[in-house]
Symmetry: C2
């Protein structure tokens, strides 16, 4: 019998299984597809749908779309969700969304077009539809969109026994809940009790005597990024959400917070690299170009600044053509140093480890580190210049330009994101382009300027 | 009375409070410091210690180190943990670590020197010390290091009533637990029951009838990155850990998995930028130089490759000095395109959205996107070349070089991390340097090569 239980462990999605699914799809073998996909977790089925090609996906959906349930639907990435919803028979779609909790329905709705939104809303039961529409009334990326309205609450005067009896009699409980939230008669949350404490206390214990020491709530209009920060910082599992007047309106659970955190990380990384933050590995070439070309065009103009700087020194270069070969070294090493400084600063701003309290010290640290790196690199590059070209002056120009540009890079890497943050903008946004433009322009200017003074 | 409870909500760490703490420290007012720090969450106290300067920190620790508890100690970042442990009186340290669960003790020990490790181990009770030493015997970054040994298990034949009676009578329960793990007589986990299901079922219900459908366990030697992936992919709250023979030896909870995920993200971002993955915003300038200079030196050599390429075309440049000013445009725009492609690929590899199943399609997508971006940029740059220099040939050279380099950048951005991954290396490691070297070298070569053929 133990073995029966152990078999409930889900199977994994690996290459042989993907190949088998594709073979079954090609053979039009619906039952084969079903027996291969059925043991998989919804998240793995969603991954499979994302990873196979568009024509395979269409064929698979034609065979199997009636088996897609709410869980699979909420695991599917935004990029292909519309396609999947389109392929699902109306009654299957209705069934699927009725299974879900309101926060998951909201998450799905957010990324769909109006006609598809309508389709899903009409499929919901009245009470759920009202709850979903209320959630959609909160601003995008707010706690109100993230929370579920299915709550487990108890009056603050209840005992453990009363709570257990209530839970045993309850008709609808959320799929996952980890706390019972205590409320006063005005529905203001006043504390919460973990299920572990309830289970390990006697029936006569009063809930208010076994609440957690630390209790936090968020407001429905709070930004989801702030909510994710609170979960991460204070290791929360769930967190009550209140409205403007302090009444309990919902609860956010760790899985939703983890999703937000994951998206924030992704956004930081993609924005730093100058890609639209919606970029997905399953996007087609046209979407990819739409995300990337705008930044490349911006960069075309900023790169022209470098060209403009260099063109001011055409006479110097004509006198000593070797300068043209050497100048990218100073600029490129500066670009790398700027990126290093930038990555640390953007990350620290995201985790709120870089604040007013230490900003001045971090800037000073960057200045010192930039000088030291500059001197180290200058010694190597300067010596190489002297040895290869047999010219002390050229070595000195290379070394000095390197020091100047390393300092500019280190400072730019921290000051650019700090300034964007102070202006209320995303520090990762466009930082990369700003900083490399700065280091390119300064690199070429310092090197060619010094060369003009010292070598010609 | 409701208000009493509400006051347990923790206060926050903001700039006025930091200033007040620093003023109290300067005045040598230990009680003032205490009253300011006491209402704060351990994570916020740790942040404060990280964000103030080294001399303020020393003064604060001298006044207040006897108040540091286990929770604060485990929240403090590795960079300053050694300093804090050093400052704590022995008996306070002993008290602090005795409070912690074994996984948190292991986490602290990992980053300390041998003498400090010894200090902490001797402070533990015998049973805990054995548990910690056993955990330390597992490889670094494995599930065995991450798990806690405090478990809540029940024989598979128990009823809800038996489980509740057991929990009420238990002397030591973990601080946080979300499931009861069912085991067979050989201590093999066979399923788990959420506390919510236990609370909402009648006393006579059998635990094995209310287990979760989906049940996963990990092996103690599994990599922590794999564990974090499973938590994220399957939305787990906790996960049993078994040894090589399948016996239950511990449990990993979501907060530990979230930490690992957070560190992985940080590593990806820092490695992509060519900074040591231990870089922290609170590091001093010397540590910062140690993390960054090695990569800068590597980049100095790779940048010299570009210089070498350019030097082969000195005659061409001497003939038309304007080329020296224009060549960085092609190289730099290629660098940005490579970084874009790279960020998407590294991220997708980390979330396992880029696999063998779709690698070929993603590479094809990059090729197409690179071509389209190249043509778009070529039209703008080529036209500018024609207009500004009045030379059709120069415009054509700029445009063609741009197309070539955009294709190289898009392909390099995805092929470099894919190749590193196939070789069993971290795809983020050094990818940035590889790709920008590639786009620089190809950018200069394509532009100057074409110019030599078409313009001279």
């Amino acid at each position: 019998m133990a073995e029966d239980l152990a078999e409930t462990e889900d199977e994994v999605l690996d290459q042989p299984r993907i190949d088998a699914v594709l073979a079954a799809v090609e053979a039009g073998d619906g039952e084969g597809v079903d027996s291969l996909l059925d043991p998989l977790h919804a998240a793995d089925i969603a991954d499979l749908l994302e990873q196979i090609g568009p024509s395979d996906r269409r064929a698979l959906l034609a065979l199997w779309s009636h088996e897609i349930d709410g869980e699979i639907l909420s695991e599917i990435s935004e990029g292909i969700r519309e396609e999947v919803v389109e392929a699902m028979p109306r009654e299957v779609l209705a069934e699927a969304v009725r299974d879900l909790e309101t926060d998951d329905v909201v998450d799905i709705l957010e990324d769909l077009d109006a006609p598809q939104q309508e389709l899903i809303l009409t499929a919901l039961e009245d009470a759920d539809r009202v709850a979903v529409e209320q959630a959609m009334a909160y601003p995008e990326n707010s706690a109100g969109r993230l929370m579920q309205r299915e709550l487990v609450v108890a009056p603050e005067h209840w005992t453990v026994g009363e709570a257990i009896d209530f839970l045993r009699g309850a008709e609808h409980l959320p799929d996952q809940f980890y706390h019972v939230i205590l409320v006063d008669p005005r529905m203001t949350p006043v504390g919460y009790v973990t299920l572990g404490r309830i289970l390990s206390s006697g029936r006569e214990a009063r809930l208010r005597d076994i609440t957690e020491d630390s209790f936090r709530s968020v407001t429905a209009t709070d930004a989801e990024a702030d909510v994710a920060y609170i979960f991460n910082q204070y290791h929360l599992i769930s967190c009550p959400v209140v409205d403007g007047s302090g009444r309990l309106v919902g609860v956010i659970t760790i899985d939703d917070a983890m999703n937000v955190l994951d998206e924030e990380h992704e956004e930081d990384m993609l924005r730093l690299a100058g890609v639209g933050d919606e970029a997905d590995v399953s996007d087609g070439p046209v979407e990819t170009v739409k995300q990337r070309l705008p930044w490349l065009v911006v960069n075309l103009f900023t790169a022209s600044l470098s060209a403009l700087v260099i063109s001011q020194f055409q006479n110097t270069i004509a006198t000593l053509v070797a300068l043209a070969a050497l100048m990218p070294i100073v600029a490129s090493t500066g670009g790398i140093a700027g990126t290093q400084s930038l990555a640390v600063a953007v990350r620290a701003l995201a985790t709120r480890d870089l604040t007013r309290a230490n900003a001045a010290r971090v800037v000073r640290r960057e200045l010192l580190a930039g000088m030291m790196n500059g001197v180290g690199l200058a010694l190597i590059l300067g010596a190489a210049g002297v040895v290869i070209f047999g010219d002390w002056h050229l070595g000195a120009v290379l070394g000095l330009a390197m020091i100047v540009n390393q300092i500019v890079a280190a400072l730019g890497g921290v000051l650019v994101p700090l300034t964007l943050e102070r202006m209320g903008l995303d520090p990762a946004l466009a930082s990369g382009t700003f900083v490399t433009t700065l280091t390119d322009v300064m690199g070429f200017f310092a090197f060619l300027g010094l060369a003009t003074v010292m070598l010609t």
